[in-house]
Symmetry: C2
Amino acid sequence: MKKAVVLLSGGLDSTTCMSVAYKAGYELYPLSFDYGQRHQRELDAAKAVAQYYKVKEHRIIKIDSVGGSALTDSAIQVPDYAEDGEIPVTYVPARNILFLSYALGYGEVIGAEAIFIGISSVDYSGYPDCRPEFLQAFQKVVDVGTKAGVSGQTIAIKAPLMYLSKAETIQLAVENDAPLHSTTSCYRGGEKACGTCDSCALRLKGFAEAGIKDPISYKEMD
Amino acid sequence: MKKAVVLLSGGLDSTTCMSVAYKAGYELYPLSFDYGQRHQRELDAAKAVAQYYKVKEHRIIKIDSVGGSALTDSAIQVPDYAEDGEIPVTYVPARNILFLSYALGYGEVIGAEAIFIGISSVDYSGYPDCRPEFLQAFQKVVDVGTKAGVSGQTIAIKAPLMYLSKAETIQLAVENDAPLHSTTSCYRGGEKACGTCDSCALRLKGFAEAGIKDPISYKEMD
């Protein structure tokens, strides 16, 4: 059975990726990171999603944060959503590069054929490492810089959500019976999602556009 | 003062890189990894080299190993040197990719202009991630996938040893007064270097060709 490493944060996008890889017939090897997030809620969601798919192994790798981001550094406030074209303070330096590097090492060890990552260039937050140019560049690194790559059996980096809007991602997840009720997206990580940070705002807009009710709870907004 | 992150293992090559970056006028930010090496000797050497250059900060990042290599997995024996063109079992999956990713995140946080890595395509052990193609591919990832890259002030990945033989590296190190007496290269990590593993064999051959005496001690060989 062909194997895939799936980068699983416990959010909407990575959970949809799990459903896509599952449908494509891969044996799933989800990989999550404990990187000094402000809350454990994300990892709990990732575990719930991994259980839903009855995976053989769910690796959680602890990584030292290098700081400099609102998502990892508690001295920086998470801002509300702003459509200003700037790279926001929630940008974590080299995060996807780091995550993909770990996935690659793990993928080489288990003999994976693919790595799934839930990045999208459509409804994204302005992060440079969510664009097709980035994905192509990273694939080249795999092709020339790994044992798998140079031996002609490269590991394919797959980003099935790259050209989907958030609404389309949600539709795909529902079609694939992805466990959206177990996911979390909020950057603030309270008991209930805040509904106002970048990530909540994009999620809520997506559900509204898809005409689907979000199965998770939000803080009541006054 | 311009800043550089230097990947510092405590070996000959990375220590030579420190000397090159120092001579080029960079403020040095060495970065080392505790990644389940078989021995602490490497990290002790890295610390000694960092002290020699009186650096402001020497970060040591602990990383979970993903296994599958003789250098990190104690169930696999470190073999003697063999010139057979195969990728050896000492290959650590995606190691340089992972190290560069951390250096990149750190470099973005401190505002570095460069990252130095001591890879060489001349006297290397057959690792795909030591070749110019790999370096170029990774530079492209930086250029398109990071905040620094897309804002036009990319971080340059520098590999000053890329086209140097081990003998030339040693000559360069001596010219630059690099602290070679503090370095360690042995994969087996005993109290004294074994003199027979890949890494020791390349080092000894390099010193012999350079006509310079290696300042470190080796096990007496019967």
